[in-house]
């Protein structure tokens, strides 16, 4: 079984928001970053995967099995970290562990102690006394102590300083040294993904804009820069998003070679960052409107 997580035509609607039949897959042994602006549907998707929300349509398979039919077995093999703390704040770290541990068949106190040590967490402090970064580290410690095959995280890096974030990313790289394990994590801080992510899924307004290997995305997409005289109704169609200023334009294309053929040597093509891709895609329409 190659894919550890498969989401097919997943659907959920709220009053002001609809998750539009989204699909993506995460193979075993890789890290997938789930990006999109706030309110794009990242948390909704993760909550549907964890069955905290009830899906209206579609299919979710984890470890090749239906996520509701085999819910308990699947959750035994998943570790989760959410952006907010959901532990009992009045308990100490050690007491909370005492409560969580019996739920998991494969819980290992050895692993727990190992991560507590790595993260320098104080076992006898109460959870509410921890800083935001330490709370996240504690969540991660709890999430990893039953040696999960799939780690699911919702915005684990939001509100953390760069040093803690980089520590977290190192742990993720460590984790997938075992090629049977995968990580799925959402973030709106795309620079986290520029480094470690193998796959990127980009959601916007309840729809998947793209889901592919990060290398393929970064090798194909490009930031094209040139003079505004190059732009007309026809050439403008090549862009996903475009921004004009007094001296020229910058635009995002999803096919660098095509752009090169179209504009020849009159343009400069830069490698985009994931953030560029996100910004131009999200604001692409707005830019287009301001042009008319």
């Amino acid at each position: 079984m190659k894919n550890i997580l498969e989401v097919k035509k997943l659907r959920k609607s709220f009053k002001n928001f609809t998750l539009n039949d989204i699909s993506f897959t995460l193979p075993r042994g890789y890290i997938m970053g789930f990006i999109g602006p706030n309110g794009a549907g990242k948390s909704t998707t993760i909550k549907l995967i964890m069955n905290l929300l009830k899906k209206e349509g579609g299919q979710i398979n984890i470890f090749g099995k239906d996520h509701i039919k085999h819910e308990k077995e699947i959750k035994n093999r998943i570790g989760f970290v959410y952006d907010e703390n959901h532990f009992y704040e009045e308990l100490t770290l050690h007491e909370m562990k005492y409560i969580i541990a019996p739920f998991y068949k494969s819980w290992s106190d050895k692993l727990f102690d190992k991560y507590m040590k790595i993260f320098k967490l104080p076992a006898n402090k109460r959870i509410k006394e921890l800083s935001k970064g330490m709370k996240m580290k504690y969540s991660l410690t709890i999430a990893l102590s039953h040696d999960p095959e799939l780690l699911i995280m919702d915005e684990p890096t939001s509100g953390l300083d760069p040093i803690v974030r980089s520590e977290l990313l190192d742990i993720l790289s460590d984790l997938i040294q075992d090629e049977n394990k995968s990580v799925f994590f959402s973030t709106h801080i795309t620079s986290d993904l520029d480094k470690v992510a193998d796959y990127v899924t980009f959601i916007h307004d309840g729809s998947i804009i793209l889901s592919a290997a990060k290398d393929d995305i970064l090798d194909n997409y490009g930031i094209v820069k040139g003079g505004t005289d190059l732009l007309n109704e026809y050439t403008q169609k090549a862009f996903i998003g475009i921004r004009k200023n007094n001296f020229g334009f910058e635009g995002l294309v999803d096919d660098r070679d095509k752009a090169r053929n179209l504009f020849k040597d009159n343009i400069v093509i830069d490698k985009p960052s994931l953030e560029d891709i996100m910004l131009y895609t999200v604001r692409g329409n707005q830019y287009a409107q301001s042009n008319h």
């Binding site: 890290i31 190192d170 040294q177 520029d194 470690v196 796959y199 990060k214 290398d215």
Partner: protein, 124 residues
């Protein structure tokens, strides 16, 4: 062994790895049969995607520079000197062609170019 990745370079990261490992093999820094870091280990060290290192290794394997034994990892392939030399020549040719193209676009004559080449060869 040294591998340096530039994120701002236009050369894709996997190609940077391929190029540097090839150089290492051709120059003899990496000898036949010596073990390469694992795909996942290298990705972790370099802070890059596993897919990138995997692609680089696949490329090197395709070109016969390395061999991968399932479960044991990747090794520098055993090749005869003749073949290595040929491969080396191909790389030199490719780079010279690039230099020639640039020279032509700048109206630098063949003579001037060979003079430059001799000089560089002596200095190196």
């Amino acid at each position: 062994m040294k591998i340096i990745i530039s994120n701002s370079s236009n050369e894709p990261i996997y190609q940077q790895i391929v190029r540097q490992l090839k150089e290492g093999i051709l120059k003899g820094h990496l000898t036949a049969g010596s073990a390469l870091p694992s795909i996942r280990g290298l990705a972790k060290e370099l802070h890059i995607s596993v897919i990138t290192t995997k692609r680089a290794y696949e490329e090197l394997e395709k070109e016969g520079f390395i061999e991968t034994a399932p479960g044991r990892g990747s090794f520098v392939a055993v090749q005869n000197r003749e073949l290595l030399r040929k491969k080396g020549l191909a790389i030199v040719e490719e780079k010279l062609a690039e230099a020639v193209l640039t020279a032509k676009s700048l109206d630098i004559s063949c003579e001037e170019l060979s003079k430059l080449l001799h000089q560089l060869y002596k200095e190196a």
